[in-house]
């Protein structure tokens, strides 16, 4: 097997908390994206018998066609990577991951005889325990039992993939997805013992958006998660300073008020006089410790808690700047200025916009973190939001597979290299 063959058959698989991005190097800049979820069909139901359904599990773009009642959704729909980690014995979650992986590989596997399998580069959370790596390698072997789709596989942590995609060998990557936020210093290799994790991501902002929608009289809509996410992305704002932003919003309601239409429906959402709450959504991602959130916790909104998953602590209420400082301070002092001088923000949870007319009151994620770090006495900081954050992990996978020589075998002590699974 030649290097040339490997380079032409590199296949990236990014198991994000919310979306699964996949595809071979030949896709160029943009991978295929489907939701990282699977729907377990009730095969005894009348509908599945009418439709001649033979499988138990549906993944990918077909999922919406098989959805049944809203009550069944919670039980039958499985989001395997919601927390970035899959429990060892969570059979349903592993089944979804296997089915999604097969779906991805089969979608692009050429039919001709010269095809001898892809070089698969999978990317998972930096806090994933070793058993997840073992399970994934085993899964590739199992997929190969039917037909050789993967010649060799490797697994890299998502922050490393981000640093690779953005051509930065020394940096601190803050990757914030749906379920959690990972902070990982990188200096040619990920500095694993300096990793910090927060038990909140875009999902936490969704929960707050639900409460805000309920308060504004949209309690019925607040039950639909995809709609809540849509509303959050359209109305959420990150304040430069929350107290000042709230004062501004209350005296300039016309500038902050917004009315959004949900595509393909008659639904229109308008927070009216409660439009000031738009600033709470963004603030919550960066600093849930602000006193204003206490009233929501008091009314029953779940508070992000500290949890231990595998060997990693996920902090619930620690503010993001504090987490970055704690992570960097675990690295050698000589390295610290370099890590502060390039902080990369990646993941859908940093894509906040500043609408026209609200400049100065609302800010982007990079400005917010820079200000938070300055308040804590950290100067000479460069914070940048990566371009196309949704695709950067997949792109990093492609570069990794393209560059790492095929004769470099997997090493458990370094957690890198190619594992032969064919």
């Amino acid at each position: 097997m030649s290097e040339e063959y490997k380079r032409e058959h590199v296949f990236g698989l990014d198991y994000g908390t919310s979306d699964f991005k996949f595809g071979p190097i030949t896709l160029g800049e943009v991978p295929e994206v489907v939701e990282n979820r699977g729907y377990f069909i009730d095969r005894s139901s009348l509908m599945s018998r009418i439709m001649g359904v033979r499988r138990d599990l549906v993944v990918g773009k077909d999922v919406p066609r098989f959805l049944e009642s809203r009550e069944d959704l919670a039980e039958r729909m499985v989001y395997p990577m919601r927390n970035g980690v899959i429990a060892k014995d969570d059979e349903r979650a592993w089944k979804v991951i296997e089915e999604l992986t097969r779906y991805a590989l089969e979608a692009f596997a050429p039919k001709d005889e010269s095809f001898q399998g892809f070089y698969a580069v999978a990317s998972i959370s930096i806090i994933s325990p070793r058993y997840m790596y073992e399970h994934l390698f085993e899964m590739f072997r199992k997929i190969n039992e039917e037909r050789i789709l993967v010649k060799a596989a490797t697994i890299i942590p998502q922050p490393l993939a981000v640093a690779i995609a953005h051509k930065t060998p020394t940096c601190t990557v803050v990757e914030s997805g749906h379920g959690n936020t990972q902070i990982c210093p990188i200096s040619m290799y990920p500095v694993r013992n300096a990793v910090m994790a927060l038990n909140r991501g875009g999902g936490a902002a969704n929960i707050l958006t639900m409460e805000i929608l309920k308060d504004a009289g949209y309690g019925d809509l607040a039950k639909e998660e995809s709609l809540v996410r849509f509303v959050k992305e359209r109305i959420g704002l990150v304040p430069r300073n929350l107290d000042e932003a709230l004062r501004y919003a209350r005296s300039n309601l016309d500038k902050v008020r917004i009315s959004i239409k949900v595509p393909g429906t008659r639904i229109r959402v308008d927070l009216g006089e409660k439009a000031w709450a738009r600033f709470l959504i963004g603030e919550y991602v960066f600093n849930p410790g602000h006193e204003i959130f206490q009233s929501y916790f008091a009314r029953g909104m779940p508070k992000p808690s500290d949890v231990k998953i595998g060997d990693t602590y996920f902090y619930g209420m620690m503010d993001m700047a504090e987490a970055i400082i704690t992570s960097i301070e675990k690295c050698p002092i000589e390295l610290q200025p370099h890590l502060y001088s390039k902080i990369l923000l990646s993941g859908g949870n940093f894509g906040w916009r500043v609408p026209e007319g609200l400049e100065g009151v609302a800010v982007r994620s990079d400005q917010k973190l820079k200000e938070m770090l300055a308040e804590k006495g950290v100067e000479n900081v460069e914070v940048a939001i990566v371009g196309d954050p949704k695709y950067s992990v997949w792109r990093g996978c492609i570069v990794y597979g393209y560059a790492v020589p095929l004769d470099y075998p997997w090493k458990w002590e370094r957690m890198e290299g190619w594992m032969n699974v064919a």
Partner: protein, 231 residues
């Protein structure tokens, strides 16, 4: 293995997304024979974009028709744009477009560009004009819409089948060529002395043998060298 093709509507929606607009609707313009329509909103303003493709511009009168339709849209939307393929930009007088408040967008396979921003109207001034006979008009429009959509769906399906067949043929040819080159390369490699590691590293920078352009994130990426030295 396939490469995704973006439609003109995709690239146009992308430039407005940066300004906080999102796509509310994408449809064929029912009042016109030539263009498709994209509706974008930022929560406060709604912009309609009439998109003309190369095929439609082959018909005489396509541009006038699109402009007349766009004039009507001014009553319903805060701003109206016309989008044309980049090579047709010279046939449009920008000053006239600007005078009438139309936005102008040009696009090609690589992306879109807003040449003239649309003149935006105040919401209050347009809303009353939507009220009269709305229900009657809507029923008429809906039945016409269904007929048009059915026609469109069968046309698109036909085209899709043809494109898929062509793509299959091309992929078969490409794979057979790649196989032949691979065999030739392995024969060549057997006849040459074993390459040193340094030589392999230099090769890492080269393009894949198929001659495809490397993606931007691989160009001048220091990680390629760092990772290729892993041993």
């Amino acid at each position: 293995m396939s490469r995704r093709r973006l439609s003109p509507e995709d690239v146009i929606a992308a430039i407005y997304e940066e300004e906080g607009f999102y796509e509310v609707e994408r449809s064929r313009d029912l009042g016109s024979t030539y263009s498709s329509r994209l509706i974008l909103s930022d929560g406060k303003k709604e912009i309609a974009v009439n998109v003309l493709d190369e095929e439609s511009l082959l018909s005489r009168g396509a541009l006038q028709d699109a402009l007349l339709q766009a004039e009507k849209l001014k009553l319903k939307f805060d701003g109206v744009c016309i989008a044309v393929p980049r090579k047709y930009v010279k046939v449009i007088d920008e000053s006239v477009m600007s005078m009438h408040g139309f936005g102008l967008i040009i696009y090609d396979k690589l992306g879109a560009e807003e040449i003239i921003p649309p003149r935006l109207r105040e919401r209050a001034s347009r809303e009353p004009s939507r009220e009269p006979n709305e229900g009657v008009e809507k029923a008429g429009v809906e039945s016409r819409e269904i007929i048009e959509l059915r026609k469109e769906v069968s046309r698109v399906l036909r085209i899709l089948e043809e494109v898929e067949a062509r793509l299959d043929r091309l992929e078969r040819d490409q794979r057979s060529l790649a196989g032949r080159i691979s065999r030739l390369e392995s024969e060549l490699a057997r006849s040459e002395p074993v390459q040193r590691r340094e030589e392999v590293e230099v090769k890492v920078q080269a393009s894949p043998r198929s001659g495809r352009k490397l993606p931007s994130y691989l160009h001048d990426n220091p990680w390629v060298e760092i990772l290729s030295r892993r041993e």
